[in-house]
Amino acid sequence: MQIQSENVGQVLVLRLLNSRLDSATAHDFKGKMVDFVLQGHLYLALDLSQVEFMDSSGLSALLSTIKTMQGRGRLVVFGVGRNVAQLFSLTRLDRGVIEIHPDQETALQALNPAD
């Protein structure tokens, strides 16, 4: 699982470089995401534009990351492709559980409201 990270203000922008977030990769992904949170990065913007396939294990990893934040921070996603959007819609996690933005700019605006 490859994740590229970049600090932009108080936000850590994370780019998931794998095309699949599934049962084979979700455990590693979740570990890395939880590490970012435990290191004190509480505002995360996750770029999913490279992800073509996500399954319920990938969803679980995202939800675990949000749970790890315990309301102290926020995780938003952007660059969501059609397949992943279908998964979010089917599971109704796009209704206030996973915060979705169309691009990095709007994701950063949401997490850096003073900018």
């Binding site: 073509e52 396939f53 996690l93």
Partner: protein, 149 residues
């Protein structure tokens, strides 16, 4: 003339082999189904079923096999996913549905696999016989998404 096509695939009970099933399915269906969103959902249902075998029937232990039969008819697609591990409760399968986060709190972190399968496929059944468990699924392929042979 359109004929039924069948393929049987076996993978070891390892998560890093599940994607191979999805890739095989994509290859089988790419000339039949033009809608990439529909292809994704069918791959998702198949992969969730295989993951369910590995995770629950085999308790994530390697050294077992998951056998998948894909039957492609003129207007229908069938999957038969078989394992030799612990059986799934039929009640659990038939009661599986996706949680509505707006109604049900707290939001579950996991356990959406069977609900996704039920939401994607038109018909699902499960049986156990002679040491084999079989999850059967059917999906009608809409005419506008089916290419002429």
């Amino acid at each position: 003339m359109t004929t039924e096509k069948r393929i049987t695939l076996c993978i070891p009970s390892r998560h890093d082999h599940v994607a191979l099933l999805g890739q095989a399915l994509q290859g089988l269906l790419q000339e039949k189904i033009q809608d990439k969103g529909e292809l994704y959902l069918l791959e998702l249902a198949l992969c969730e079923a295989a993951v369910n075998c590995i995770r629950h029937a085999y308790a994530d232990k390697p050294g077992h096999i998951v056998q998948v039969e894909i039957i492609l008819g003129p207007n229908e697609l069938h999957f038969r996913i078989q394992d030799q591990g612990s059986s799934l409760s039929r009640q659990k399968l038939f009661q599986a549905e996706l949680q509505d986060p707006e109604q049900d709190l707290p939001v579950q972190e996991c356990g959406r696999g069977l609900g996704l399968i039920q939401a994607i496929m038109d018909q699902v059944d499960y049986s156990s016989s002679s040491g084999w468990n079989c999850l059967w699924m059917r999906k009608t392929l809409l005419q506008e998404k089916v290419c002429k042979d």
